[in-house]
Structure formats: structure tokens, C-alpha cells
Symmetry: C2
Subunit: 234 residues, 2 copies
DNA sequence: CAGTATCCAGTTGGATACTG
DNA sequence: CAGTATCCAACTGGATACTG
């Protein structure tokens, strides 16, 4: 902020957005976290005061807005059109990282709770039965060994303690395997046929699994890169 | 750096690249600044110590490399393939800014010297005569009132004092007009036909002006946005 | 629950002088 | 020219407690 902001699009943009949290907050809102504590939960390491300050700035920039929630009782954070327009920036950064800086996860990077949190936003309720669907994940390794994804037509939530609902499908596999699948290092098909991951429960839901369960937005890029590396020069 | 880096492409990428200078340094190298002081010159507000530190980090990241210069006497900074791959990130940020945060320049944002510096990297020597071409810019307003662009087949340099060469073409116009043209708020054609900018000198060079003189990489986007704004809803 | 206020340690970064 | 070393002021950001 010391130097006069140069009149140059890249320079201005970098000054507005390029800090440790702004884009991550935008991404978090983009994938479905719409209130303060939810955003905070999705961004480990971010402190309350910094989030508050960044939210203010992003509102000033017209990237995020506070709107009345459907109930009208409260308000929530939503992206404006300018905020949605940051998707290409986020994709470009993620795409670059995936190409140049994204090895398979080390064991200490495996965080099952965070993975469930990410999975939550990938669910496509259109391909699920009416009413509530409860998926229980049994991880055979990692920091958290069991978690629930509770899905209704409009909402997806993560529980780390038994919510008490009937379990529609139980998913078993190692946290490492799930990370590899989610981020595209390994295909779901492969993990299922080798038995690294197993699905048990209501048939219609397990069979449609790949339909309603979306992977990370970078999974296909990671997979392509892995292929290229295996075929060094065509 | 306090929190454990999350295993997520966007998060990792943001941590690696999203600071006030890294991407701007990459851009500066990309457009033709290959040594320390040249980069420094292109980035007002950046201090020597910070540049040194960022260059080290970018080398560590494999984005920039120090290579022997053609003469072999010295070395220079060049982008690696990973560095060139950051172009989409830079374009995405610049594109977003141009769409949402890029009004016409205020008078105090007009910096003719910096504009010449930017123009330097847009020159396409293919469309210029053999040998040296010297363009003199006479600005009718702004911080710097006269500047020279000295172009050879392989190099383009900026002088703020008379280099002494024969002037091939003299360009006259206000700094504000040039900013508007360069960044796409106004077309060169328009500025020439209204006489806001005039070109004098060797005919073949003036006639080919739009061929060898490239505008900012965002000029076309700025122009498109301006059009859209004039036709509110089609 | 959704933030704000306060405090303080740690880091960043600008200026300047210096070295090879 | 191409950086490095040093110094110090300013800012950042985490922790915690507090308010509506």
C-alpha cells in the first residue's frame, strides 16, 4: 500500500486480490460456505479477525455481498457477479499448481475431516433419491476414522459424530486412497475394482455413486498430467 | 506460513504465488526484463532487498532460472516452462481487473515514462525496417514530456534523454490519450482521425504503425467491455 | 451465533550503505 | 552492474476476551 497503485490491470488486480486469504475465502463461498463460522471452518489457519477484515474488504471490492438469508432472519455471504467472475483466476492458479506442484499426498497431509468438507460441496443432489441420504465413511487410516455426509435435496452437511440417521451407504477405504481419488491421482473405478474402496448399502445409490459424487475440480487435470508423465515423449 | 499447508491445489498455489510481487516479477520477466535492475525499473515501489528475496524464492519454485546470457559474460533471469505456464494466471487476474476495476486513467495515474516502458515490450520488430528505428514521443501533458523508443531487430529500449540518433518518426499526443489507447479505452484509429495523436516521419513506418506497435494484452477486453456498457441490454 | 476490540509478538519491507 | 547486509519502523496477524 505504500507505493501509488500503478495504472496496470495486472498490478491493480494483484494488489486487490493477491494475499494469503482473499481468493481462498472467495473459493470457500463459491463452494457453499455462506456464513462466518462455516467459512472459518473451511480455512484452517485463518483467524477470526483476519476473516472479518477480509470479508469487509471483499465487500468493498464488490466481490462478496451480505444478503438476507431465505428465512429472512439472518444474513449470509454470497458472491456477486464480480465474485463469480473470479472462478477463472482460481482455476488458473489451481491448474498451474496441479501441473507443477502437486505430488500425491504425503501421509501427514491426509486430513479426512477436511476431505469430507470438500466432498460436501461436490454432491449433485439431482442424482440422489428424494429425501435424506446418509453416507457413512469408514476410513482405515488418518486423523478421523469415521464421518457422515448427510444429503438432502437442498443441503449437504458433514458430521464427525453419528447424526443418528439410517445409513444409506457405508463407504470403506483408507484416507490416503480417498485423497488420491478425490484429487485425481487415481480413478474411482480403479479403487473400486481393486477393492481399495468398497461401497455397501442401497444398490441404486451405490450404483449411481459416480453420478452424484463429484471429484475435485482439478481431478481431470491431475489425471491428464499423470498420463503424460507415463508416456514421456510420444 | 504458520499453518500447515493444506493439501489443496488452490491453497498451495495461493501460498506459493499470491503476494504483492511474485506474479508481477514473473510478468516483468515475461515481457522482456531479464536482469535485476531492469526488473526493478519496471516495478516501481519494489525494493532491492525484496526483489532479491523474491527472485530466490521464484528460483526455488522453478519458475525463474538464471541462465548464461548469449555473450556468456554474464547471466540473466529467464522464465522456465513452469514460469511461462503462469501466463494464464496473469491473464485471468488482468482480465478480471479490466472487467470490474478498470476505469479510464485519472490524471494522477498517467505515467508517461512507465507507459513507454510498457510499449517497449509490445514492439514487433518483424514489421519494422532493417537497422535502427527511433521513435520520439512528444507528450503534451504528464510527468515526462518527451521520450524515445529505440528499436533494433533484437532489442527495444527506452530513453528519457535524447539518444542522439536520427528520429524515424515523431509521435505527438497527450499522455492521457496514449494511456487510453494503450489500454483499450479508445482505439488508435479514433485518436489518429480526430488528431488527438499525430505521427510524423518516414511514411512506410507511420503507415505500418498499427502493425509493429502492439497494445496492452488487455486492450481488446477493455474495448469489448466498453461496447457492452454502451449497449446495456441487447 | 456473528462478529468486534484489544493486545502484543513476529515478520515484512523500505532505505541506505556496502561488497565483489 | 548485481546484488547483500543492516537497521528500524510499520504492519500483519494470532489469541483471547468481549458484545449484541
Amino acid at each position: 500500500m505504500s507505493a501509488a497503485p500503478e495504472y496496470c490491470p495486472v498490478s491493480i488486480g494483484v494488489n486487490l486480490l493477491a494475499d494469503r486469504w482473499s481468493l481462498l475465502i472467495v473459493r470457500e463461498v463459491m463452494v457453499g460456505s455462506h456464513n462466518f463460522n462455516t467459512i472459518l471452518r473451511g480455512l484452517p489457519g485463518l483467524s477470526r479477525s483476519v476473516l472479518a477484515s477480509r470479508l469487509r474488504q471483499l465487500q468493498r471490492l464488490g466481490v462478496i455481498a451480505q444478503v438476507q438469508s431465505p428465512t429472512g432472519l439472518s444474513h449470509e455471504y454470497r458472491l456477486t457477479e464480480a465474485g463469480e467472475d473470479l472462478l477463472p483466476v482460481i482455476e488458473a492458479i489451481g491448474g498451474w499448481t496441479v501441473k507443477w506442484w502437486f505430488p500425491e499426498p504425503r501421509p501427514d497431509q491426509v486430513d479426512n475431516a477436511m476431505l469430507l468438507w470438500r466432498m460436501r460441496s461436490g454432491v449433485r443432489p439431482r442424482h440422489l433419491p428424494e429425501g435424506r441420504t446418509t453416507i457413512r465413511f469408514d476410513f482405515t487410516d488418518g486423523n478421523v476414522r469415521r464421518g457422515w455426509l448427510v444429503l438432502t435435496g437442498t443441503e449437504a452437511s458433514v458430521c464427525l459424530h453419528d447424526p443418528g440417521y439410517d445409513v444409506t451407504v457405508t463407504v470403506t477405504g483408507s484416507g490416503t486412497t480417498w485423497h488420491e481419488v478425490w484429487y485425481g491421482h487415481r480413478t474411482l473405478d480403479d479403487a473400486l475394482t481393486t477393492g481399495a474402496i468398497t461401497l455397501d448399502g442401497v444398490r441404486s445409490v451405490t450404483r449411481a455413486f459416480p453420478k452424484w459424487f463429484a471429484l475435485s475440480m482439478f481431478a481431470s487435470t491431475v489425471a491428464e498430467n499423470a498420463e503424460k508423465r507415463e508416456l514421456p515423449s510420444a
